[in-house]
């Protein structure tokens, strides 16, 4: 008896550790993301304040086009030479600075030096101010001279005296590298930012396309605050005047928004992990309560009250939650520090040191303890319902009817479905997420009801062998336990399937549109390049037109604008009617003719009527009114505001970013393509693609996004695996005697392992199937809800779904390994003597 007690205690410990591990992983994820974003945030704070440490006051213009956070980057306002003079009247030492993203250096290997996102600034060299220090060479004095920061020089493999190609808003131009600079404190770079500095005039032409400045820095012997107030009073409200400190704080703040998004995404995945963990904990406590039925009944018989019973289970939960939270917090700090160090190394950021923010600690303990207690609540209540008489009876796991559970499941699922529908209609993310959550819980409640028939059906696949049949029967034995174990796996698989369904449907709709309507044979477009729209020189257009086989080439210019104050995109086609033909645009009103000065053609989704006049503010800040002369139907392929050539001067680059190429029927596409590519030698980021490549490229991001989602949801799967291991280990333990009996009548070791494996695989495949079903349900609900946004048909990602099913099966096999070995090692005699 003692041996049995010890054994079951040990088994319980393993189970407690497993469920504790689930909490630990979730807490680790939560606190890790706080630690990580905190460290990165403070590092960037330091970077911004060091960049502005030598600046007393910074003057900038109000943004030319204000854009909300969700819509992307605002277009910065420009300060003119006249503005600079006005500031200089107040503070003679004022310097006009230019600093704009998008100066791409071509390295010594002939390739453009890319980044994974951080800006590549192009600007003017204003001397060793603002923390800049010339390390080598001299300042740029002539139009063809530049200096770059030391880290960039190293990356590009260039040295002082080299001829260096630089891409800006204009195609490639070649400069002589005359100097290499660094920063205060002996740094080679400020974080991950690359910098190229030209002379003032060149910087203005190449980076701004206008004579002006992005900011004016002022230093004087007055106090920064006094200087700021003086400038503010003297300049008026078209300007933003901040002390260096204020400006640094403002920059850091806008950057915080980015970090905040990152943090939210990480927390979202942590939430999924914890949600799955909840199932595992719930299952563990149910099992523990079931196993202790006799003990609990005895306590009841001896006079313990219901409250005491609930209390005893909950205390255990609190202890597990507490321990797991402490460990999870520690692990989270470790993981956060590790990732921060990795990030800093990757971005050459000066790491500000790791701290444990209060948010990490508070969230770790709240999440860890609350989740554990919530998960243990149901089993605790069940424990309190054990009748004292159970102590005297031989109670097998009583097969309680599933009616109530099933009814509750149906109600919760329906409520979830309703919330999802409402959320989609009202565009409310909260309702949508709440609905998804409720749907998961509802399906989890329904799953025991489905488990028996589903498991019986699935098991048929394995019934050709005796161990297979036994395994199948075992997995059908306790539908609640099977179901809850499977439900944990369901969540992860449902999420990836749902996202995949939406993505695939979106992609298919887009492909379908393109295939049906896109007539251009070739397309010239820029590679993905962070913060930059690659361009090509419009003087090439006539030469492209002359390439043999080319029927027509239409170039597109594009930039941000504000129409009647609302942010939008402007496009200028060199030949709008041809483009309209190539994209099969249909006229809704007026004509789709090439717009003349002051005219615009627009799609039917912008709320304009024929003959309306709209006020357009260009990216350079100029305002002009346009009259709507034509309206066409909006498609995935073609939409927005189409202007005439007069809008180009308001665009910052003033260079085409895209071109449609129509070939003659008799043309040799390969030859035409090679010829076009040859012409684009000075725009190495522009590429010529055929229809298919272009579409593949447009949809390539979808694949990457999916991959990321899958990787992050891997954690949820991992926790689900813990659950399966937990359930199987228990099955093996509970059935020691049976396994011994089977061994005694001739079941071999391998066959025993096969039996356990089949049990596991049936559970996980059941979970995977549930997940696929729920995922398809959620996905098609969203696709349905987004029908207005151009999602025309529901396309199921069969191949991926097959893959997830396969993953489910593999997960089962993996989870079965340890329990199966344990079962195979069952000592026949020991099992028979097992009390």
């Amino acid at each position: 008896m003692l041996r049995a007690t010890l054994k079951s205690l040990l088994a319980r410990k393993v189970r407690l550790v497993l469920s504790g591990l689930a909490v630990l992983l979730g807490v680790m994820f939560v606190s890790g993301s706080f630690v990580l974003t905190d460290a990165i945030g403070r590092s960037f704070d330091n970077m911004f304040s060091s960049a502005l440490a030598e600046t007393d006051v910074l003057v900038t213009a109000k943004p030319a086009i204000e854009v909300s956070e969700m819509e992307g980057e605002p277009v910065p306002g420009l300060l003119t030479a006249a503005d600079l003079r006005r500031v200089q009247e107040i503070a003679p030492s004022a310097i006009g600075e230019i600093s704009v993203d998008g100066a791409r250096v071509i390295g010594s290997d002939g390739k453009v030096v890319t980044t994974y996102g951080p800006p590549r600034m192009g600007g003017n060299w204003t001397g060793e101010v603002g923390g800049l220090r010339l390390h080598e060479g001299v300042a740029p004095q002539k139009a063809d001279e530049i200096v770059v920061n030391a880290a960039l020089a190293k990356k590009a493999g260039i040295k002082v005296g080299d001829q260096v190609g630089v891409l800006t808003t204009k195609p490639k131009q070649t400069f002589k590298l005359v100097g290499i600079f660094g920063y205060e404190g002996g740094l080679d770079s400020r974080g991950p930012v690359d910098e190229v500095r030209f002379t003032d005039a060149v910087a203005q032409e190449l980076m701004l396309g206008a004579e002006g400045y992005t900011s004016i820095t002022v230093n004087s012997d007055k106090s920064p605050a006094a200087l700021r107030d003086e400038l503010k009073a003297g300049l008026g409200d078209r300007y933003v005047v901040q002390t260096g400190e204020e400006a640094a704080a403002a920059m850091a703040n806008s950057f915080k928004a980015v970090l905040d998004v990152m943090n939210k995404i990480l927390l979202g995945f942590a939430g999924v992990a914890l949600f799955v963990g909840t199932f595992l904990i719930l299952n563990t406590f149910s099992i523990i309560v079931a196993q202790r039925t006799k003990e609990l009944a005895l306590a009841r018989a001896l006079g313990a009250g219901r409250g005491q019973m609930i209390g005893s289970v909950l205390v255990e939960a609190v202890v597990i939650g507490l321990v797991a939270s402490v460990l999870g917090l520690a692990a989270g700090v470790g993981v956060g520090a590790l990732l921060a160090a990795y990030f800093a190394n990757f971005t050459s950021l000066q790491l500000a040191g790791i701290a444990v923010p209060a948010a990490a600690v508070i969230s770790a303990f709240t999440v860890g303890i609350v989740i554990t207690v919530i998960a243990a609540l149901l089993p605790a209540v069940r424990a309190s319902r054990v009748p004292p008489v159970a102590a005297l009876q031989e109670v097998a796991t009583p097969d309680r009817p599933l009616t109530k559970l099933t009814a509750a499941g149906a109600i919760v699922t329906a409520a979830g479905g309703g919330a999802i529908a409402y959320g989609l209609r009202q565009q409310s993310l909260w309702f949508l997420m709440g609905g998804v959550l409720a749907a998961f819980v509802g399906v989890a409640l329904l799953s025991p009801f489905v488990a028996r028939p589903a498991v019986a059906m699935l098991g048929r696949l394995f019934s050709w062998s005796v161990p297979g049949k036994l395994g199948r029967l075992n997995s059908g034995r306790n539908p609640r336990r099977t179901a809850i174990t499977a439900a944990a796996l369901m969540v992860g698989i449902a999420l990836v399937t749902g996202v995949n369904t939406i993505m695939t449907s979106a992609e298919r709709s887009m492909r379908g549109d393109v295939a049906a309507t896109f007539k251009a044979d070739l397309v010239i477009s820029g590679q993905e390049s962070p913060g930059v729209q690659p361009t090509f020189d419009p003087v090439l257009l006539p030469r492209m037109q002359q390439v043999s086989g080319v029927d027509s080439v239409v170039a597109t210019y594009a930039d941000q604008i504000a129409v009647n104050g609302k942010p939008a995109y402007a496009q200028v086609q060199t030949d709008l009617p041809t483009v309209a033909r190539l994209v099969s645009a249909t006229t809704v009103a007026g004509t789709i003719a090439q717009p003349g000065p002051g005219e615009v053609v627009v799609d039917d989704n912008r709320g304009h009527a024929l003959g309306d006049t709209v006020t357009v503010r260009s990216a350079k800040g100029t305002e002009k009114t346009y009259r709507v002369i034509g309206i066409f139907a909006d498609t995935n392929l073609f939409g927005g505001y189409q202007f005439g050539a007069d809008a180009i001067e308001g665009m910052r680059g003033g260079q085409p970013t895209f071109a449609y190429v129509d070939l003659a029927d008799s043309a040799d596409p390969a030859a035409a393509r090679t010829a076009l590519e040859g012409l684009l030698a000075d725009s190495p980021e522009m590429r010529v693609q055929n229809q298919k490549e272009y579409i593949d490229n447009q949809t390539g991001e979808v694949a990457q996004f999916l991959l990321m989602v899958q990787v992050l949801l891997g954690l949820a799967m991992l926790i689900a695996v813990l659950g399966v291991v937990n359930t199987l280990a228990l099955s093996v333990l509970e059935r020691t005697r049976e396994i011994g009996l089977l061994r005694a009548i001739g079941l071999g070791r391998m066959a025993t392992m096969r039996m356990i494996t089949v049990e596991a695989v049936v559970i996980t495949v059941f979970g995977a199937l549930l997940g696929l079903a729920v995922g398809v349900g959620l996905g098609s609900a969203v696709v349905e809800g987004l029908a207005d946004e151009g999602l025309k048909e529901l396309v199921l990602p069969w191949q991926q779904m097959g893959l997830y099913l396969g993953v489910g099966a593999v997960v089962g096999v993996l989870a079965a390994i340890l329990p199966a070995i344990r079962a195979a090692r069952t000592n026949v005699l020991g099992a028979i003597a097992y009390e």
Binding site: A396, V466, L473, N474, E738, L741, L747, A751, V828, I832
Partner: protein
Amino acid sequence: MTLTAPVITRTAAAARAADVWKVYGSGEAQVVALRDVSVELERGRFTAIMGPSGSGKSTLMHCLAGLDAVTRGDVFVGDTKVTGLSDAGLTKLRREKVGFIFQQFNLLPTLTAEENILLPLAIAGRKPDRAWFQTVIDTVGLGDRLGHRPSQLSGGQQQRVACARALVSRPEVIFADEPTGNLDSRAGNEILTFLRRSVIEYGQTIVMVTHDANAASYADRVVFLADGRIVSSLDDPTADTVLDMLKAAAG
């Protein structure tokens, strides 16, 4: 080059122990459960093993059946030397040569009575001999209960299913450890009658451990163990002769 044919030790015994020692633990905690036990269990006979609690009855049976390894000595089941067999060898032995009836927990709760009976054959991948199956079912009298699960059967019925399971694969020898220990005398007598009949009518070899003199009286021969040794044996026992023998051993 010479070819040596494998030497097969032919014996009339269905199972045999030769100079078997079984020692549990070591040092202070050492327990000698069997001391130099040699015994032959004749083919086609019903042997009962008796003795006081702790005398080594179960141990002897486990060793004979290959469920437990002996410390010294050899064990044979039919032609097969059990000592030193690998797990695969033991599995094969269990599939082909031996059958078991335990005191309780004999059946898998997920399977019906019929499936339980046929389980050893299914595991071994053998086809049941339908006529023999029918005979066995008739012998134990389970005809109308075949579709029931163990939880729907009484303890006596469950033991009958266990008997049928042991009989159906026609093993060399059936080992039964107190098969009637948990039953009342009527159900116990029924089981013992079946075992007796299968010995007489089908020539089945059975070895049964029991505490009960009445149960032992169904056997052809009783072997008495005391303190890990075989102390005596009795042919064609009756309840009275067995009781006398036990008294003599105790006294």
